[in-house]
Every structure is written in C-alpha cells, then in structure tokens.
C-alpha cells in the first residue's frame, strides 16, 4: 500500500493532467467569455454572495436591475463595517462606515462582472477548459477552468449559469487547486419580478466622481523603468501620481492587467518605513524592495515571483 504522502502526490499529478483536459477551441472560448462578460449588462438579479480572500470572509447583498440597457444596482455589506454602494449607469454613490476616501475606476470590476468585454487578450494569457456541470445556489451551472499559459499568473475557475451566462461563482486557486479567493452566490433570484424598493439606499451615500487623479504620460525623473522587462502578458492600464498619507511627495501608481487580474506597482522617492520583503493573503501577494533612493512595491493576485519581476523593472 502506498503511503498517504505518495497517494497525495499521485492525486496532484492526476489533477494536473485532468486540468489540462477538455480545452476548448479559441473561437468557442471567445464566445463563452463574451457571454459571461455581457450577462451582467442584460440580466436582472437579486441575491447574496460571499467574498472570500484567504481567511477573510464577507457577505454582500446585491440587487441588480437592467432597464433599457442601463444598470441600476445596490450592494451592501451584511457583516463587518457598514458599506453601501449604489450605481445608476456610470454614476456611483458610496457610504462607508467611519468615512475614508474611495474612488471608482471606469474599469473597476465587481462580482459577477469579472470579465472584460473583449476576451481576446484574456486568451493570450489563459486557455479555457470544460470542467463539468454543477449547481450553485440552486441553479444549474457549467464549470470552466481558465488556466494560465505560463507561471506568471494563477488558475481560475468559473461557474456560469447555463441559461443566462451569468457567473454564479468564481475562484482563484494555486497550482494544486488550493483555494485562495472565492466569490459565490449563496442565494439568488434570477430574472422575474425584482422588488425595485431594494434599489433605494438605506445609508447617506455620497456620489463619487471617477478618479480625480489625472493619468500621466511620462514617468517622473527619479522613476526610471525598464518597460521592456514588464512580465509577459501584462498591459499598462494607467499610471497616476497619487498623494498618500504621511508622504511629502506623491507616489507613482501603475496599474497593469492581464485581462483577468490586475497588478499595482507603487514607486516613490525616499525610504518609506517598509522593509524589503513579501506578504500574502489568499491570492493577493505583496513584494517590496528599495532600489537606491527609489522604493518599489507591487501588489496583485498573481504569484510572488511575478511581482518580483514587476519590482525589478524599476531597478536603478
């Protein structure tokens, strides 16, 4: 009889090959990902979902109504500090218990709208695989694996409602399928009569403007960067100079995307009180390093080594 350790080992390998099975042709993959991306713009729903990052778990209620192609939505947290978000088309209003600044981004994605409109870039970095059928919150779903083409990013699993194309569950895992992050509906009414009273804010929400920080075209003189060394498959989405607490000078904040996840790279002149090192929570990794007079930190739901590569682009 094999020892448990070796048995586990075999399972890993079997999982590895099973993961590689059922790969969909690109054309079909494009259609499916488009369907998942479009569904939140077409389908009304009302439900409760959990959001798990590593060992932190939150429950959020969402009411989402599509009318004349316009999305009206309200979300509020059911545990932890009170937070409420109301959206009418592009207009977003927010209430956060205890205050605190927040800005929205035009490309911000909230579950279940996790995928970009154009999936071609996603498929340059990932392949889509069929992984069976299941039930989520009482609804029939098709399960798909979005597997990275290289080791610069993590695998994802998507549970798509068969009828509407809406994502009812999505996870980020490690290479051994260990769960890092998860979004999942625990209760969901899809379509039908949705109580519009649910869209009315309960707390004094304040309207938010899209990011007040204007993007910059060129890097500050101190922040030399080897942009050719940016890890393969990541595009620069925007870069801003962001004021931060206890800093005399603004911090350069770059946002990169591989179509599914985003990575933030912060660079600043001086030596903030953050040592060289790494941290993680769930799929979220952090990596920091001082290069001479420039301090660089990268944050994102990608493997630690990918962040190291990002930080290295600022090597002075």
């Amino acid at each position: 009889m094999r020892s448990r350790g070796f048995f586990a080992l075999m399972l890993v390998w079997l999982a590895g090959t099973a993961m590689a099975a059922g790969r969909l042709p690109d054309q079909q993959a494009v259609r499916l990902l488009q369907r998942m991306a479009q569904a939140p713009k077409q389908v009304s729903f009302h439900g409760v979902y959990v959001q798990q990052y590593g060992d932190s778990l939150e429950t959020i209620r969402v009411c989402h109504v599509v009318e004349n192609g316009l999305v009206n939505e309200r979300r509020d947290s059911l545990d932890g500090p009170v937070r409420e978000m109301v959206r009418q088309g592009d207009k977003v209003s927010l209430f956060v218990q205890g205050g605190g600044a927040f800005e929205t981004q035009p490309d911000g994605r909230l579950f279940p709208a996790l995928l970009p409109d154009d999936p071609t870039f996603v498929l340059e970095n990932y392949t889509l695989h069929q992984a069976g059928r299941e039930r989520v919150a009482g609804h029939e779903v098709e399960v798909y694996d979005l597997l990275p083409r290289d080791t610069l990013r993590f695998p994802h699993r998507l549970w798509m409602h068969t009828g509407s194309g809406l994502l009812l569950k999505a996870s980020t895992t490690g290479y051994r399928r260990e769960l890092y992050d998860l979004f999942a509906f625990s209760q969901l009414q899809l379509g039908g009569q949705i109580d519009r009273g649910q869209l009315k804010p309960v707390n004094p929400v304040k309207p938010l403007n899209a990011s007040r920080l204007g993007g910059i075209d060129s890097l500050p003189a101190w922040g030399r960067q080897d942009s050719k060394a940016v890890p393969h498959g990541f595009k620069l989405v925007r870069q801003v100079l962001r004021p931060m607490v206890k800093r005399t000078r603004p911090v350069l904040h770059q946002v990169y995307s591989d179509g599914v996840v985003s990575v933030s790279v912060f660079a600043e002149e001086g030596r903030p009180n953050l040592p060289d090192g790494s941290g993680r929570q769930g799929a979220l990794n952090v990596h920091s390093r001082q290069w001479g007079s420039v301090h660089v930190t990268a944050v994102g739901e990608v493997p630690h080594e990918t962040l190291e590569l990002f930080v290295r682009t600022f090597k002075q």
């Binding site: 890993v12 390998w13 590895g16 990052y53 590593g54 932190s56 939150e58 959020i60 979300r75 947290s77 932890g80 500090p81 937070r83 978000m85 927010l94 956060v96 605190g100 927040f102 800005e103 929205t104 981004q105 490309d107 911000g108 994605r109 909230l110 290289d150 080791t151 610069l152 490690g174 290479y175 051994r176 260990e178 890890p231 393969h232 962001r242 931060m244 607490v245 206890k246 904040h253 946002v255 985003s262 933030s264 912060f266 009180n273 953050l274 040592p275 060289d276 090192g277 790494s278 941290g279 993680r280 929570q281 979220l284 952090v286 920091s288 944050v299 994102g300 493997p303 630690h304 590569l309």
Partner: protein
C-alpha cells in the same frame, strides 16, 4: 540569452549575468527545456544514461504550491562582506524572517514584530490596489495580510 544559459551550465557566468539569465527564465519557460535537453546531452555523453521525460514539468507543478523558501541572511552576509552598513542596520531594525522546516510543516518565524508604521504603509498600498480594482467591500481583508521580511537580496 541561450548562449549565456549554456555558459551558466559550465559555471562561466559572472553573478550579474546569472541574474539576467534567471530573469529571462521566469519569462520564458522554453529556456528550461533547452537547459533540460543540453543536460540530457551531457548525461548521455558521459554515459550516465537517459533521464525520465516530463520530470521537471511535473516537479514544477508541485513546486509552485510550495511557499517561497528564504534562507537566513547570514549566508549571504558571509559571502558579501562588502554590504554597506546602512543596509545591515535597516535589516537589524525590522528583524529577519526565516522559513523553517519542522518535520513536515512549514511555519514562518518573524524575529521582531513589525513596527506599526510599517504596517500602516503596507495597508495604504493594499487599499490603493483594491481601490484601483473598484471594490470597496474589502477593507477588512486588507488588514489581515501578513508581511514577511526577506532581508536584502
């Protein structure tokens, strides 16, 4: 780059070039396959026989799941006596984290507690990242992230 990889196999690269090769290797997995077939060529020439195919691919899948190991810093300090004093001092301030192996389980050990200010800096970055993703429902989670100090590399 491939020629440098070949020189690395013979130990004929200076440390700066080794660094360069390793960076490329992270971006381009085919370099590992090159390395594997050259290594196989060497083994065969030396009469050592033929290695099992697909070994390193299977191994890499397991390795990805392993936490990053970081050895105690003193090995490096011994090797590089020219480390500037300021670097040594800043490391001493925050302490050194070491992944230690205790018969099957791996636990992070932090020598000193991280200063509150350090934690605040980290929190700012994490919050800014979450904001850039447009998700305001994550504040609590961010605070729980842990930070391991790796020391100067």
């Amino acid at each position: 780059m491939k020629e440098k990889l070949s020189a690395l196999m013979d130990g004929e690269l200076d440390p700066r070039e080794v660094e360069e090769v390793l960076v490329s290797l992270r971006q381009d997995r085919t370099l590992l396959q090159e390395w594997a077939s050259w290594q196989a060529g060497r083994d065969i020439l030396k009469g050592e026989g033929v290695a099992q195919a697909g070994f390193v691919e299977r191994f890499s899948r397991r390795l990805e799941a392993e936490p990053v190991v970081i050895a105690p810093r003193r090995i490096r300090v011994l090797r590089r006596l020219a480390v500037p004093v300021t670097v040594a001092a800043s490391v001493a301030f925050v302490g050194i984290a070491v992944w230690q192996y205790y018969g099957g389980s791996i636990e992070p050990v932090t020598a000193n507690q991280m200063a509150a200010e350090t934690e605040a800096v980290l929190h700012d970055y994490l919050a800014a990242h979450r904001q850039s993703e447009g998700n305001p429902f994550v504040e609590r989670g961010v605070q729980k992230a842990q930070f391991q100090v790796a020391g100067q590399r």
